[in-house]
């Protein structure tokens, strides 16, 4: 026993407690002045030295744990170099950060689009050569029937089931779509394999449904039915796919020699921003799908619905392509 533990504690405890108080203050949100910052650094170095001495000369595990915890907390405050934004501004985030992040990772988005389009082509092709495959490709009761019948039913008047349930339906759509999107995003952790399958499968269903209605001659109905919400909903899921590929890209790290942890650390803000963007888009799509998409010809002419959808699509492209370009770089 080389160290006089009792004396050591008695002499240094005031410094430890001062450091602890300073850290508590910082975690409660207090701002440090110049003198405080210097004091913090001094106390941190001193406590580090105490920890080093204690672990070299004595086996007092509880004091060691205490000092270790203290040094750990101070370390987190001192060596954190990631910029902390003064205040999160939803407006700046949505109109600047989200579109910018989208453009920065446009390659991942293109991959998601390619997969979905490929899936759609496969779905349409499969249904064309084997009409019996419908129940396999579209395992949903609402879509299995004859398109003509569905159109007649939809056009016979406002959906009775939906009367007075628009908000409920809208909420169901939003949460369901968000669940699917976030799940697609999370599948990025499988090095992107799961996301590839998910996006391709979504494409297959989309292609098969579209082909089914187009073959029966209901292209206009289909566009009027799907476009008002689909032009936002489908891109939203593609953005989630984009986020999953950003995650997968950071995991794989092709051509990047930094350790995986660092690559992920760098990718995290982009993934989270894209996830947030997806959520916002899906809220909009859910409202439109419940309150507009379910009204058909006698009530709402298809031309109006298609025009509305086209306008939304143009706005979306303009938003993702150009919003936040002008401001100074972050």
């Amino acid at each position: 026993m080389i160290i006089d533990v009792e004396r050591f504690f008695a002499q240094n405890r005031p410094h430890w407690q001062e450091l602890e108080k300073l850290l508590d203050g910082m975690q409660a949100g207090a701002k440090l002045g110049y003198d405080d910052a210097r004091r913090l650094h001094y106390l941190y170095e001193r406590t580090s030295a105490d920890l080093a001495r204690l672990s070299t000369f004595a086996a007092e595990s509880e004091a060691g744990a205490y000092l270790s915890g203290l040094v750990g907390r101070a370390y987190a405050e001192i060596y954190e170099t990631r910029r902390r934004k003064a205040r999160f501004s939803p407006r700046r985030w949505f109109f600047r950060d989200f579109p910018r992040t989208f453009r920065q990772h446009i390659g991942a988005f293109a991959l998601a689009v390619a997969l979905t389009v490929g899936g759609a082509a496969f779905g349409a092709f499969a249904l064309a050569i084997d009409p019996d495959a419908k129940s396999v490709l579209m395992p949903f009761p609402g879509l299995e029937g004859d398109p003509g019948e569905r159109v007649r039913q939809e056009e016979s008047g406002p959906n009775k089931n939906l009367q007075g349930h628009h908000s409920t339906f809208s909420a169901e759509l939003m949460t369901h779509n968000m669940r699917v999107s976030f799940f697609t995003l999370a599948l990025g952790i499988t090095w992107g394999v799961g996301s590839v399958l998910m996006l391709f499968y979504n494409g297959v269903i989309l292609g098969a449904v579209a082909f089914d209605y187009m073959r029966a001659g209901y292209t206009v109905f289909l566009l009027g039915w799907l476009m008002p919400h689909g032009v936002i909903e489908i891109p939203a899921i593609l953005v989630a796919g984009q986020a999953s590929f950003v995650l997968a890209g950071a995991l794989l790290g092709r051509g990047d020699r930094r350790p995986r942890r660092e690559r992920l650390r760098e990718a995290t803000p982009a993934i989270v921003t894209l996830a947030g963007g997806t959520a916002v888009m899906l809220v909009w799509a859910g409202i439109v799908e419940s309150f507009i998409s379910q009204y058909h010809r006698p009530v709402l002419p298809y031309e109006v619905k298609i025009a509305f959808g086209a306008a939304e699509l143009l706005l979306l492209i303009a938003f993702l392509g150009f919003s936040g370009r002008k401001d100074a770089a972050p």
Partner: protein, 261 residues
Amino acid sequence: MTGRRLTVRTPEGVEFSWPLAGPVARMLAVIIDLFCIGTAVYILNTVLSLFAVLTRDWATGIAILLYFGLQIGYGIGFEWLWRGQTIGKRVLRIRVIDGEGLRLTPGQVILRNLLRAVDTLPVFYAVGGLTCAITRHAQRLGDLAANTVVIRHQAAVAPELTETLRQRYNTLRQWPHLCARLRQRTTPDEAGIALQAILRREEIDPEPRLHLFDNLARHFQQKVEFPPEALDGLSSEQYVRDVVQLLFETTSRRPEARVSA
């Protein structure tokens, strides 16, 4: 202090470490959190059912959104506000921290919670539990992606030895040469064990307590044999206490013990 630890080496060359939380503690925390979410949903439903008298459609819609928001937002909200803790984690004294010992960012909190969708596959955190059991830092997939770890909380109280050790008359002091030999022969590990035993003696049940101090006393007697009259009327516990006092309360003033203020 067994189990896996996250060790960080600071640029000053000092190492500190956090004990990591295992799958079991984390699972218990999750169960508590699920219970909290369930309770919150129940309360919300009760409130909204009053509201439903006015408009049923809106009430149901809001209930669905709130339920979803609670599911996703519970973990994110609490871990951000409470610096890495939820109610369940607080109860079990565990905490999420950054994988390199730095500050937890909101992005990390959101990402690790979004990846819960994969960790809960196929039933009740099977994937997450498995990865937590096999990865070096006990991380589930969400932790790996967000570069976070879950640690066990350490003692938050500055150590107080003085009260325990500054005590009455110490019989063993009558044989200074034996005391010196005891200090010389005792390793830091042995001293640490004896000290811990003394500090925590009130937490131990009577029977194991007797047994423990008997063992310790025998061990130290084998190291340095004090004359029989030194042990007269001295219980094993008092004996160990005296030994600890001798070990930790050095009266000599060596240079390495002196710290200039």
